[in-house]
């Protein structure tokens, strides 16, 4: 299991605590997809989580910052927002007021 400061030593059930859980970008708190799959390192004893898979991106275990009711990850150079940015640039940004906060 991933060892991070606040979850060190915690035994997690991969299916219950990781699979299909919400991902959150640590930098801005934005929602960044779901955990579609979990990659295990079976060579280690006991087996540990090597990476989380979301869409086409692979998030290595050391990027996991916290595991709670959602999983916070350090996104940095990963492109988790590819589709959202595409829709933003091609559709939403063209509508007036897209960048304004609501009143």
């Amino acid at each position: 299991m991933p060892r991070t400061p606040d979850t060190s030593g915690r035994v997690l059930h991969a299916q219950l605590h990781l699979l299909d859980r919400q991902l959150i970008d640590q930098a801005d708190g934005h929602l960044a997809g779901k955990i579609d799959d979990v990659e295990l390192d079976l060579d280690a004893d006991p087996p540990v989580v090597a990476a989380l898979i979301t869409g086409r991106e692979r998030i290595t275990a050391r990027r996991i910052a916290a595991i709670d009711t959602a999983v916070t990850v350090v996104v940095e150079d990963l492109d988790l927002d590819y589709y959202d940015n595409w829709v933003e640039n091609h559709v939403i940004a063209k509508i007036p007021g897209a960048g304004d906060a609501t009143e």
């Binding site: 219950l16 859980r21 960048g99």
Partner: protein, 409 residues
Amino acid sequence: MKKVLGVTLGILTAIGGFVDIGDLVTNALVGARFGLHLAWVVIVGVIGICLYAEMCGRVVAMSGRPVFDLIRERLGPRTGLLTLVASFLVTLLTLIAEIGGVALAFELASGVNYLLWMPLAAFAVWLVIWRVKFSRLEQVFGLMGLLLVVFAVALFKLGPDWGELLHQATRPHPIGPEDWSTYAYFAIALFGAAMTPYEVFFFSSGGVEEKWTRRDLVTARSNVFVGFPLGGILSLAIMGCTAVLFLPAGIQVGTLGQVTLPVAVALGKIGLAIVLIGVFAATFGAALETALSCGYTIAQYRGWQWGKLVRPREASRFHVVMIVCIVLAMLTLLTSVDPVLVTEYSVVFAAMALPLTYLPILIVANDPDYVGKETNGPLRNAFGLVYLALLVVASLAAIPLMIITKGGQ
């Protein structure tokens, strides 16, 4: 003082927000055909929505996660997807009915055909979602919806034989030309109208939009336990009005104009003006809620950024889903399909989707991972299970009854 004001405002909003086109049409229709012989279903439905909305509110306040987020987590991607498809389609159908209802309210007020109003209504729904802050849209339309209290005033003014109404309400069986199959069919429709799935999606996502924490549990509970039952009384007042005015005359309700007619008869032009504003607010508010719920369900299943607490461009896919849904609703209505008929079917389809929506809520409300020590007690679980059984029965019986009764004819 501010706290009290907040709670009061929440309750008032919940009352006004409880009634939508489904409740308006179904209650009026049932009152005209069955009198108050089906009134008990409204009470059963209100208790059910209170029970499950409280669980949703608690899960949100304790975990910060809305319902659909957790549906996939607990049911897995496949069953989750089935739930998503069913809930989404029902919510979209409800959105179509609500936008139709807004346009019909304009038609009643202006005399101009609703098809001409419809694109304007759809555009207005989108514009409000695009530009107006979440708390404001909830309050404005919820408070305006309170004008529907005029149905209760009208009922008193009509001077009914209260003993006769009580007599009807305590005798749960079909009357006159109706048989048990239409009776059961409309019982399911009323149940579906009271417990429509979008209510819990909207309620729990709204909790996240308003950043509820465990300190907001009181607010959440007072909204549910005071606001919803009072909203249910509004529903009963609508049923009572048509029971008094239409049932003895043998008139069936098939248009929104007929729904509002008892108020016009009892209170004249001013009453009619008030009820039309109330109907507009209730349907417009519900159109906003259903459009948002369409976006909430898909975005939360997929894990996309959603919500009105960020700028539209930061939740672009969420906004695109809503735009597509509103356009789809508009195109469907432009085929001149009768919005009242759409409403009648939407509440029955809602009843079919109910178990899929409510089962995961019951599971999550028992999971200490999400709610900490605030898990369901044995009493709430017992009620929850009884209702789940009811929902399954209603869901399984809906289609056969729809075929047997030819859609309640």
